[in-house]
Symmetry: C2
Subunit: 398 residues, 2 copies
């Protein structure tokens, strides 16, 4: 019988809260907090009658740490699941420390004034979470999240050492609008403009945006152009995988996506540097974002699939070994099942599982941790049990 507070009622928030409410035997009370109270109330209305969980909508502006801390103290959840944009991570960690509750999120901190995102700022909270006896679980969505659990699982059951990790996120979702089949288009665009990066032999190597790409055969989808982009996983996996030499993250983009991204980039519309327009300062990307609909608003018409997987090369008993571990979901099927499209579903369910494992003690440990630092088996078991099957391909030919 646990009380959870979920902050952020967007696409992933809706998906995670739906999952918490499916398990009301564990999540008996679910506080839904958002800047926009109407989103929380709409979700409560949608879920009521389908769950025994008590749903408590509240309004909060997370920018005010004092107010947020007060809210958490009032509501007294055991944990806070942070599903807000990544620039809020540290504020919410501070509030959790002050209020004495565990913390879980799904993407690395990103200061507002740049688009650089790294775990390092959150890792600096290790001592404080340790001393407080609290757990902070970082990056527990689809990717990061599932991807690192896959790596930990493969390391535990299939490898002695892993030398190369290539992570693939392939979203073939389409609807009436460009850039509207993922989770948060604004964050995606911010991060793309930073350029690509991958980890090799101890260093992070930077690339021009979208400069490196290759065709891969994604299982159950087919051949796709996959582009190397900067992502969370290399920074933490580099510390936790024996024998690791290279970690890369690839994301699918269609030809149309690439042309559109280049258009916006070349025109300067994805810039986060303010420009002067008619006596006010406007950040181009923020203005552009008002033209990018929330993907969850188009969930009902989104068609295609999302696949998240890890291609692993390493050694077992002295012999070379290669493995592909992945999960794949269909947008329409996820929507019919849960009201969320596949990208949100595949972030929301792992977020709920991670939160449950923290709260039930399985993944509870004082300090700040990434997902791969815990035993992957309980997580993988719950994934299969609750609707996000994972698959192993022992002779992968991507």
């Amino acid at each position: 019988m646990g009380k959870i507070m979920v902050i952020g009622c967007g696409g992933t928030g809706n998906a995670a809260i739906y999952q918490c409410c499916r398990h009301s035997e564990f999540f008996s009370e679910v506080v839904i907090a958002d800047r926009d109270l109407s989103r929380c109330e709409a979700l409560k209305k949608k879920l009521e009658g389908t769950t025994d969980a008590k749903i408590i909508p509240v309004q909060v502006d997370v920018d005010d740490t004092a107010v947020l801390t007060e809210l958490i103290r009032e509501e007294q959840p055991e944990a806070v699941l942070n599903l807000t944009p990544p620039c809020e991570d540290l504020l919410i960690m501070e509030a959790c420390l002050a209020a004495g509750v565990h913390y879980i999120d799904t993407s690395a901190y990103e200061p507002e004034e740049t688009a650089v995102f790294e775990y390092k700022w959150q890792w600096e909270y290790r001592d404080r979470f340790e001393k407080a006896g609290l757990t902070a679980l970082l990056g527990c969505g689809a990717d990061p999240g599932l991807t690192e659990v896959f790596c930990a699982y493969a390391l535990k059951h299939y490898f002695d050492e892993i030398n190369h990790i290539d992570i693939f996120e392939c979203n073939t979702g389409e609807n009436r609008h460009p850039f509207a089949a993922g989770v948060n288009p604004q964050t995606g665009l911010r991060r793309l403009s930073l350029g690509g990066a991958y980890w090799k032999d101890g260093s992070m190597i930077e690339t021009e945006p979208l400069a490196i790409s290759q065709k891969y055969r994604i299982p159950e989808i087919g051949e796709r152009d996959m582009y190397l982009i900067r992502h969370e996983e290399p920074e933490s996996l580099a510390l936790h995988v024996p024998g690791i030499k290279r970690i890369r993250f690839f994301k699918s983009f269609s030809e149309r996506d690439i042309a559109y991204l280049k258009c916006l980039e070349e025109l300067g519309l994805t810039s986060i540097e303010p420009v002067r327009y008619e006596d006010q300062e406007i950040v181009p990307l923020e203005f552009l974002s008002t033209f990018l609909p929330d993907p969850s608003s188009l969930a009902a018409e989104t068609r295609g699939k999302v696949s998240v997987g890890c291609l692993l090369e390493g050694k077992k008993d002295g012999k070379e070994k290669k493995l592909y571990l992945y999960s794949i979901c269909d947008h329409e099927e996820c929507y019919n099942r849960s009201g969320s499209q596949a990208a949100a579903y595949m972030s929301g369910l792992p977020a709920m599982i991670g939160t449950m494992l923290v709260m039930n003690g399985t993944w509870k440990k004082a300090g700040v941790f990434n997902v791969e630092e815990f035993d992957p088996d309980p997580f993988m078991e719950l994934m299969n049990k609750w609707g996000l099957n994972w698959k192993v391909s022992e002779n992968p030919r991507l």
Copy 2:
């Protein structure tokens, strides 16, 4: 010995004023008027020492017709050459009427609140210009302008009747920026979003934006995708060409152009409907335009060509006849010669020639006229004489 006032010191303005100054035996005084005085002064500085014309920079906001009329009365030019954005046409015609001077422009009127552009509003001034004994010459740039002179010339020398007119504007210019090798990208984008249109058997037929395209072999350039777009010429040519059945205008767009245009259109960034952003109303296209550099600022690095031509099918002495009349310029060569890239050059020189022909009496007639209503021979002669050679292809195979 004539005095001209040019309003609008942008790309075409610079090109036209350069041409006026080359002919200081005719244009002895050139008033350059613009909202931004520094543009006028910069051009004066550039041209001084290269011309005997007296150059007079003045600042004016054309929105205030009374102020503009007063300025024209003070300066007393014989004619005003209007090279401002098309939404200013009527205001400037009013001011010319009030001050008693002739009027020339290079594109049809376009109300600010829509992107519809038509000569009809300007044609309504016919009586008033007639009674005042003044000439208004409409659309005397490259296209409209050259294109209609070509049609008039072909009708005079090659055809008894013309049944089909296809006009081709092909700009292969490239520089570091998209949409920056033409003349006025904002006007171009506004008009594109209106959708296409062509004239057939007495009616203007509308099409979806960029829906109709075909490959054509443009002489001295090669095969290009040409897209049917709405343009000025069909509206006036429909009234002045015996036997005319169909008039179409095609413009070249590269694959990249098309992808970028679709991106901006699909995202809603080319809309002229205001949106609410942080407590103010912003017109997306106007905000977008701040990211589109003035093509003349990139003139020095623009490479490629501009070709403007008319494919004509009709009859002569009872027999079928086909002809292609065109002009072609190279961006780099125009820049080296005149300081303007080819698109501005090919608008500016015709604008100067039309103005000269009005002022010297050759094309002076009380009322409001389109270019094809006058004798094309003097114009065509001056084009060849002054650096915009035209060519005839008698067996065109586009």
